[in-house]
């Protein structure tokens, strides 16, 4: 059972194809820089060829006792080697530049998908999103930065070395050619080996990860049940299985590495023996002029260089799997949100934004969980009266937050219509035209004023001070060293949960929306701060329409109407009865 589960998790072929396609396109922004990097890499190879030629010449000069040539040869050797180092350095600079462009572009598109201006069709998991934004983007860029230049420079380098060898002594080039004929065979073998072992490895890896994650989640349960030791044994077994699978994979990889080693090593040994015997005059290929020491040494030195690009390619192959996994995760997130503006008449938007409190009406609204057939709730007909407080109650998971996002236009209902109305206009809910306050708010590492100004960019300091007063933060802020210009957040004045929520209130106030949607605005607050926040909310929303999801009796107490959401049905209670 566990195995079929894990196999499902590896993902369908279709998903893989989409991810591969995305991975390919992700390289485009950095391609120009990476091509320059490739050209420089190839130039480095040519310079290295020159360097070894100089060394060969030095040896020849030593044999013939031409002192001047030795000095010139050494000078040429050093110069070529320094230039080769410079070419490598420049190539890596360009590689890094290309990498930066790729990573920047991935992050841009991820930011748009995860934080869309318009609706969001899926709820991205915050931790996974952050991971993708910060780490996975890097992994993809690393892969491209490594492989893309090699893909061009490797064949060029190999051809250059082959040609140089052939020009100096063509029979040696034939040795190279024969050994490289073994390379595709080896690659094929490696591919077959790898495919077979990788699946088992991946399964074992996922199994252990899932097991670890659950053990951390359920640690207190394990302690409770006295099952820690048993769980440890299970983890140990899963961990050993992963080790075995891992070893099986590397053993196969080493086998193909071994074949490669044999090819490289024996072409060096064969060339050395052949050249040595030719120089001694024991071997003579008909039609080939006798070989000189310089030519022989040069051919020998180029031999290991010829295979170096192949080795780099094989090493980069390893990054591919990581990049593909990252690509799968990123590609699935990119389909999550829309940045397109909604089709609403600007006039209706204008009227709704400023004029008067909004009435929200829901007709025949039904919501079905997107990937599943579970229906969360169905609401025949309901209305949130203008200027009233409506509390939505119900157990966790009953769909309170979902109902709020439908009202706020952050999600589309599966069926039915939701409308915002005033005496002069009516429109479908619009993202960006209401005030939402949830359990989480963003406190930027910036001044109090700038944090509040997120609500409306052109808010004046006076308006901000007024909003802070209404949110009940006036005293706290005036006590600060630089008032509203004090830096708060991570690197500044620490903000408590209750204060953060009141900053969110001030922010919403300067935004000026007349429909407030509050998602458990007082949860995680001690009773005292709950009353303070509630008080601030009451004051701030005077004359606005408020829908609030809550578990708190204190909040229900101040509501004009209570909707209790249970088993997908909304039961309207009067406020008194509920309290």
């Amino acid at each position: 059972m566990t195995d079929t589960k894990a196999a499902d998790a590896i993902g369908s072929a279709e998903q893989t194809a989409v991810a591969e396609e995305w991975l390919r396109r992700a390289a485009v922004p950095g391609r120009a820089a990476l091509r320059v990097s490739a050209a420089l890499l190839a130039a480095g190879t040519v310079l290295a060829i020159a360097q070894w030629w100089c060394l060969a010449v030095v040896a020849q000069a030593v044999m013939s006792h031409t002192g001047a040539l030795i000095v010139w040869g050494v000078a040429g050797l050093v110069a070529a080697a320094i230039l080769a180092a410079a070419a490598t350095w420049a190539s890596r600079r360009f590689e890094a530049a290309g990498r930066a462009r790729i990573v920047g572009e991935i992050r841009n598109s991820l930011a748009v998908a995860l934080l869309p201006r318009g609706r969001r069709t899926t709820d991205p998991e915050p931790a996974a999103s952050a991971h993708a934004l910060v780490e996975l983007a890097d992994q993809v860029a690393d892969y491209h930065a490594r492989v893309e230049p090699l893909r061009i420079s490797a064949p060029v380098s190999m051809v250059a070395i082959f040609v140089a060898t052939a020009l100096v002594h063509w029979p040696a080039a034939i040795v190279l050619l024969l050994s490289s004929a073994l390379v595709p065979l080896n690659m094929k073998l490696a591919g077959i080996f790898a495919q077979d072992g990788n699946d088992r490895h991946l399964l074992a890896m996922r199994r252990l990860s899932a097991m670890m994650l659950e053990s951390f989640h359920g640690l207190s349960t394990l302690i409770n049940l006295g099952a820690v030791d048993r769980r440890r044994r299970d983890i140990d077994a899963a961990s050993r299985e992963l080790t075995a699978a891992n070893l099986a994979v590397v053993r196969r990889a080493f086998l193909s590495g071994l074949i490669m080693d044999v090819v490289v090593t024996f072409s060096i040994a064969a060339n050395a023996t052949y050249i040595g015997l030719s120089l001694l005059g024991y071997v003579r290929v008909p039609g080939v002029p006798p070989i000189s020491l310089a030519a022989g040494l040069f051919v020998l030195l180029l031999c290991p260089m010829y295979f170096a690009p192949l080795r780099s390619m094989a090493a980069a192959f390893h990054d591919r799997e990581r990049a593909t996994t990252a690509a799968k995760a990123i590609a699935s997130m990119l389909s999550g949100g829309s940045d397109g503006s909604e089709t609403q008449s600007p006039r209706a938007a204008e009227l709704l934004a400023k004029a008067e409190p909004v009435t929200v009406s829901l007709r025949g609204v039904r919501y079905q969980v997107p990937d599943g057939d579970r229906q969360l709730f169905a609401i025949p007909s309901l209305q949130v009266e203008a200027g009233s407080w409506t509390a939505v109650t119900g157990v966790s998971g009953a769909g309170k937050t979902t109902l709020l996002s439908l009202i706020g236009g952050l999600r589309e209902p599966t069926d039915g219509t939701i409308e915002w109305r005033t005496s002069s206009a009516a429109a479908r809910p619009m993202v960006g035209r209401s005030a939402w306050i949830g359990q989480q708010t963003v406190i930027l590492e910036d001044t109090v004023a700038e944090n509040v100004r997120l609500g409306r960019t052109d808010a004046t300091d006076a308006e901000i001070t007024e909003a802070l007063r209404a949110a009940g933060l006036e005293q706290a802020v005036t006590a600060l060293s630089r008032g509203i210009h004090t830096i708060i957040g991570d690197g500044g004045w620490g903000v408590s949960t209750g204060e953060a929520r009141r900053i969110a209130i001030a922010r919403a106030l300067v935004g000026g929306a007349r429909l407030w949607i509050l998602d458990e605005p007082t949860s995680h607050l001690d009773p005292e701060s709950e009353l303070v926040v509630l008080d601030a909310l009451k004051r701030a929303t005077r004359g606005s329409t408020v829908v609030v999801a809550t578990h708190s009796a204190a909040v229900v107490n101040v509501a004009d109407a209570v909707w209790n959401l249970e088993e997908g049905v909304v039961e309207v209670r009067s406020a008194l009865e509920a309290a």
Binding site: Q51, A59, L225, A227, L258, L444, I517, A554
Partner: protein, 529 residues
């Protein structure tokens, strides 16, 4: 194995087998350098002999040497990889299990603070960084030390001046590596930058509804992207410094190669075979040295990973110290006193004390936020400590089922077996029938889904209770035992609990609306409102 020492997963990656692997790695590299050096010498010597009449040069020994180096290189390379990987992977498996153990032994308020995503990171990827240092870090450093020392020694036989140059160059390579690590030492900073960035991204995605509703998404996005760019720039600068030192390394190699050739040919007046041999030897030594930078970096990363894993265990708790309570239980009764209820809008602060006879039931009743869960948690912890007498087995005799008690991926049966590994299918099925779970077509083989998500809320509650039924605790503390159950089922479930565990003492926290389900069963009630 090492994992049997819980909490002290300080096993070292360098074992005798690892030393053997490192020796093989050094032999492989020596053969590699030897192969090229000897080949160069052989070719040059052949050229000299070929140009001389009546030479006595024998090609048999050198070409045999070339072949031996070739074979040694291939065999040693293959074996060292196998041995070192086997050692590193076993070590990895050991520290992973050890990590879980030390976490399980940590005090509750400490492990509560840790985020599970972080823990997974630590247990899966950080441990890998730690173990693989043998291959990525230690092996290249050891290999370089051996190759450089033997290279200088061998060169000294051929040319003193050349050997001096090579020794100086090896030293310079080490110095350059130290410098490289110094200028690149932004790893820790970048790590911290990334961490805070991740935290900001998490809140941003979490708070998306707020920001989107306000129309403030654009600014938020700009902000995050700007910070990402800043961190990326810092890393880029570090990388660029690394490139620069690598280039300096290239220049060092170039100069060394030239200087060795010059020293051997011009200063020491050696012949062509010796010059070729020494120059190629120098090239080999410097080639090995080129891997030093990456190796030292990986050692630093492994240290960092290990330190942050250890710090995880040493850090402070979540600040939510369990409130003080004095509690006891024995074969006659269970009781507690000295528990202070803080003031809240509905009540003044007061102390509470309760005694319950063995086999009795205590209901803790109050609205949300009155402190039911806090009281239950404190009570469970205290009772376990007072009953444990240092024997961890006794823990199972006091069972606490929090509202979010975890259901593990697997089947109903595998969850029950966690509580009692010896439980039979028959016992499982009978517990399910008692709790009327069989009516929902749930059997021992039914999968519960990830975290129990394939079960409804009411089914999950009953599943948690069923798990406790097979564990037979003496004291059973349940937070909201009737959550998600209708009145009739709730009554039935509580009835079954009492029937199956007639001598156990029950403590249930309940909401005022649901408490009616257990009224009239002779239970004591403690109201927190």
């Amino acid at each position: 194995m090492s994992a049997q020492q819980p909490g002290r997963a300080r096993t070292r990656v360098v074992s005798p087998l690892a030393v053997f692997g490192l020796a093989l790695a050094a032999i492989a590299e020596l053969s590699s350098v030897g192969l090229v050096g000897l080949s160069g010498w052989f070719i040059s010597a052949s050229a000299v002999a070929g140009a001389t009449l009546y030479s006595t040069f024998s090609y048999v020994a050198p070409s045999g040497g070339v072949r031996s180096f070739a074979l040694a290189r291939i065999a040693a390379n293959y074996c060292q990889r196998l041995v070192l990987h086997a050692v590193a992977l076993r070590h990895l498996s050991g520290i992973r299990t050890g990590f879980f153990s030390s976490l399980a032994d940590a005090p509750a308020n400490r492990s509560r603070r840790l985020r599970t995503g972080d823990l997974l990171d630590r247990s899966m990827s950080d441990t890998e960084t730690e173990s693989m240092v043998l291959i990525r870090g230690i092996a290249p450093v050891v290999t370089f030390a051996i190759v450089a020392a033997s290279g200088v020694a061998v060169a000294a036989f051929a040319t003193t001046a050349g050997a001096v140059v090579l020794a100086a160059a090896s030293l310079a390579a080490v110095l350059l590596t130290v410098v490289r690590e110094r200028v690149k030492r932004t790893t820790a900073d970048a790590d911290a930058g990334r961490r805070s960035l991740r935290a900001e991204a998490v809140t941003a995605v979490d708070a998306w509804p707020e920001m989107a509703s306000l129309g403030a998404i654009d600014r938020l996005r700009e902000r995050i992207l700007a910070r990402l760019t800043t961190v990326a720039d810092v890393e880029q600068t570090a990388r660029a410094r690394g490139f620069a030192t690598d280039a300096a390394f290239g220049v060092l190699a170039a100069i060394t190669l030239g200087a060795v050739a010059y020293a051997a040919a011009i200063i020491d007046h050696r012949d062509a075979p010796t010059v070729a041999f020494v120059a190629l030897l120098a090239a080999g030594v410097l080639g090995t040295a080129a891997q030093l930078g990456a190796a030292v970096e990986s050692i630093a990363l492994a240290k960092l990973a290990r330190r942050s894993r250890e710090r995880l265990m040493e850090g402070p708790g979540d600040g939510q110290e369990t409130p003080h309570i004095h509690a006891w239980w024995d074969s006659h009764e269970l009781g507690f006193n000295d528990y202070r209820l803080p003031a809240n809008p509905y009540r003044a602060a007061r102390d509470v004390a309760v005694r319950v006879k063995r086999g009795g039931t205590l209901l803790v009743v109050g609205r949300s936020g009155t402190g039911k869960t806090t009281l239950l948690t404190a009570l469970a912890e205290q009772l376990r400590q007072s009953s444990a007498d240092g024997r961890p087995r006794a823990r199972t005799r006091v069972s606490y089922v929090p509202v979010d008690d975890f259901l593990f991926t697997g089947t109903i049966g595998s969850n029950m077996r966690l509580a009692d590994p010896g439980v039979t299918i028959k016992q499982v099925e009978s517990a399910l029938a008692d709790l009327r779970l069989d009516r929902a077509d749930i059997s021992a083989g039914t999968p519960v889904g990830v975290g129990g998500r394939e079960l409804s809320g009411g089914e999950q509650t009953r599943m948690r209770i069923a798990r406790m039924l097979v564990a037979h605790p003496d004291v059973l503390i349940i937070d909201e035992p009737t959550a998600g159950l209708d009145d009739q089922t709730a009554k039935h479930v509580l009835g079954v609990l009492r029937e199956r565990l007639p001598h156990s003492t029950f403590i249930f926290a309940m909401h005022p609306f649901t408490e009616s389900a257990v009224h009239g069963q002779g239970s004591q009630i403690l109201t927190l409102d």
